[in-house]
């Protein structure tokens, strides 16, 4: 009666994530064969560093999408965070770690507002988060309109400097934040009641209510989490670039959603794995690395390719979902 073996079951629910992982390895292998020099530790570390902030936000977005919602505001939150930190440093000499804490506070308030508007006023998620997206983008520009680079900030310098030497690259401390959030995300999704409630809300909200689960509280918390992680992502982004620029990260929300979907999370909600998002982020980073290697493969091709990839995944998901429904009926 040993039904709790930890072997991955080849059930229908696991197909998306296995597809994701295989695609990642295939792509990496293909790229390594086609482009000498691609398969280097430096390259791999670089993909990590460039996409660390995306990964942090994507963990939060994974929970939102599993619950059946969406958060369009994350890109703007990053932009706002980065310019805020930069401006505070430049104009008031505020040490970055203080402004980072302030930003986290702002993120908390934003997440609470979004969550409450969606849950208690029953406004559509796309609308509330769309408005938040423009609000934060606008506020970012209000703070400052141009780029500000941050120099001589001890905290940022420390975060960039410290790290583990991996080959020719430096796995800086801020990348470890991503790893930490990733692990926390996996643990929360699998081992906390809150995490399981997220799956319940996304799977069948009315059932969840009937079963007595704290649906409203869960929904608000999800958006709080998303905004906080978006802010954290913004912080990591700022460290990575050591500058702030309000025009940045337009379209980031799509990057994040794309990573989550490619990672195997169902857009309709109720299923998905945080570890899948991890691979989704890497695949995304891979695709955008390719332009450097194929001169004809410009950035915009990458954009179209990612769009197609996301669409393909959604189609696979829809197809798999229909098959499951039909199997149950028979």
């Amino acid at each position: 009666m040993n039904s709790f073996k930890k072997l991955p079951k080849l059930s229908v629910n696991n197909i998306p994530i296995l597809t994701t992982i295989s695609i990642f390895f295939l792509m990496y292998a293909a790229a390594s064969i086609m482009f000498p020099g691609f398969f280097s530790l430096y390259n791999f570390v670089n993909i990590f560093k460039t996409n660390a902030f995306v990964g942090i936000i994507a963990v939060g977005m994974t929970f939102v999408i599993i619950s059946g919602g969406i958060d369009l505001s994350v890109g703007s939150v990053v932009a706002f965070t980065s310019i805020f930190i930069a401006k505070m440093h430049q104009s008031y000499g505020m040490p970055s770690w203080i402004s980072m804490l302030i930003c986290l506070g702002i993120g908390l308030v934003l997440g609470l507002s979004i969550g409450c508007l969606i849950t208690y006023f029953e406004l559509p998620e796309f609308l509330v988060t769309l408005v938040a997206m423009f609000l934060m983008r606008g506020l970012a520009y209000v703070v400052h309109q141009g780029t500000i680079s941050i120099q001589d900030d001890p905290f940022i310098a420390f975060m960039k400097r410290t790290g583990i030497r991996v080959g020719a690259g430096n796995l800086s401390l801020y990348v470890w934040v991503f790893i930490l959030i990733l692990i926390l995300g996996i643990l929360v999704s699998k081992y906390t009641r809150f995490g399981r409630n997220v799956y319940a809300v996304g799977g069948n909200e009315s059932s969840a209510v009937l079963m007595g689960l704290p649906v409203k509280r869960t929904k608000v918390l999800i958006y709080v989490m998303s905004s906080l992680l978006a802010t954290l992502g913004g912080i990591v982004f700022t460290i990575h670039l050591a500058s702030g620029k309000p025009h940045n990260t337009i379209g980031l929300e799509l990057h994040v959603i794309a990573s989550v979907v490619i990672g195997g999370t169902l857009l309709t909600g109720g299923a998905g794995r945080v570890i899948g998002t991890f691979f989704g982020v890497l695949i995304y980073g891979l695709v955008f690395k390719l332009p450097a290697y194929i001169s004809a493969f410009r950035e915009w091709w990458a954009q179209i390719l990612v769009g197609l990839l996301v669409l393909t995944f959604i189609l696979i998901q829809t197809f798999v979902a229909e098959k499951t429904a039909r199997a149950v009926e028979s």
Partner: protein, 351 residues
């Protein structure tokens, strides 16, 4: 008919009056702060100029978008890709007017006919709309997601078309679309008016308007009645794409150069805000007139910011705040809470 109107105030009519009042309020505010705001003058070259004209002219694009978005919104959907489709259409047009673009084809005049320059981008825009519609109606993907993907991909397509560059052009017949005047008013205003009027005509003089509302409100019942729900849904997305394409042409024609990265950036907010402020229901009754007024309100916000010399980005904040406030006011839950609150206040007074 007028007597009936007051007896049976269609909630939409009530709302329309509110929205109109909102527009009046913003304009009035501007008037109070700076009396020169309303100055309109007829110049020697036969063109009327002034702030109000600016609002109409600059708002023409949003008006056109809002018309298309209204129908999509009425079916219970949304189209986030309009800005990117604008960019794609604009990029196509910009390419076509570059001298010698159609080299190799036996064309006497190196400049392709204006009709062709307009037709091809519009067809592309409609095709993109068709893809959106198919994803939503046939594959049954949520509209937010489907159009989000299109928003992303279409922008990539636009950049691809011009190979990342910023084409420039000037003095060609095409630019008349954006810069030309007719009877004293800028051409874009006329185009927007035409789009509005034609759409009103088509939706009111054929059954399409009612069908759209029926599908948006109760899809199942509509299906039972024999309304071709999938066709109607797809049709609204194609039309929205067409509007986006047209808006893109107007935009690109009004500039002397166009960047595929910037065209239509963030204009989705304006379009959606226009429709929501205008009072169209998400899945149900729509009001094109309301959307136009909503678009003008949004444009007034932008123009106010410009006129008062505040940084352009303040308008983003204003628009966001106005939109969420309007959405809240329209939300039923708010009314429910208010009713509860009022009831408890009354019972406390009674004690």
């Amino acid at each position: 008919m007028d007597g009936k109107l007051l007896q049976n105030p269609n909630p939409l009519t009530k709302r329309f009056l509110f929205v109109l009042a909102g527009l009046a309020a913003i304009l009035l505010l501007n008037l109070i702060i700076s009396p020169e705001f309303f100055q309109v003058s007829l110049h020697e070259d036969g063109k009327i100029r002034g702030n109000l004209i600016n609002i109409l002219n600059n708002g023409a694009r949003v008006c056109i978008l809002a018309v298309g978005m209204t129908l999509v919104y009425a079916t219970g959907g949304i189209d986030l890709s309009v800005g990117s489709v604008m960019a794609t259409a604009g990029a196509m047009a910009a390419l076509m007017i570059r001298p010698g673009y159609l080299q190799g084809l036996p064309v006497a005049n190196p400049q392709p006919p204006l009709l062709l320059i307009m037709a091809v981008p519009l067809l592309i825009a409609m095709l993109l709309g068709l893809i959106n519609g198919a994803l939503v109606a046939l594959v049954r993907i949520q509209p937010i997601i489907a159009t989000l993907i299109m928003m992303y991909s279409a922008r990539g397509l636009a950049v691809l078309m011009v190979e990342g560059q910023t084409p420039t052009y000037h003095g060609v017949p095409f630019t008349k679309l954006g810069l030309g005047y007719f009877l004293g008013l800028p051409l874009p205003v006329w185009i927007a008016a035409a789009v509005f009027l034609i759409t009103v005509l088509v939706t009111k003089r054929t059954a399409l308007g009612v069908f759209i509302e029926a599908v948006g409100e109760n899809r199942k019942a509509s299906r039972y009645m024999g309304i071709r729900t999938r066709l109607i849904t797809m049709g609204t997305y194609v039309f929205c794409g067409l509007c986006a394409g047209l808006a893109g042409l107007v935009h690109v024609a009004g500039e002397s150069s166009t960047s595929p990265y910037n065209t239509g950036n963030m204009i989705e907010l304006d379009a959606i805000a226009a429709v929501i402020i205008g009072g169209t229901m998400w899945g149900g009754r729509f009001t094109l007139a309301g959307s136009i007024v909503g678009a003008l309100i949004i444009q007034s916000l932008s123009t106010t910011v410009y006129f008062q010399r505040w940084p352009y980005e303040y308008s983003l904040v204003f628009k966001a705040v106005v939109l969420i406030v309007v959405a809240l006011i329209q939300s039923e839950k708010l009314r429910a809470y208010a009713a509860q609150g009022w009831a408890s206040i009354k019972s406390r007074r009674a004690r």
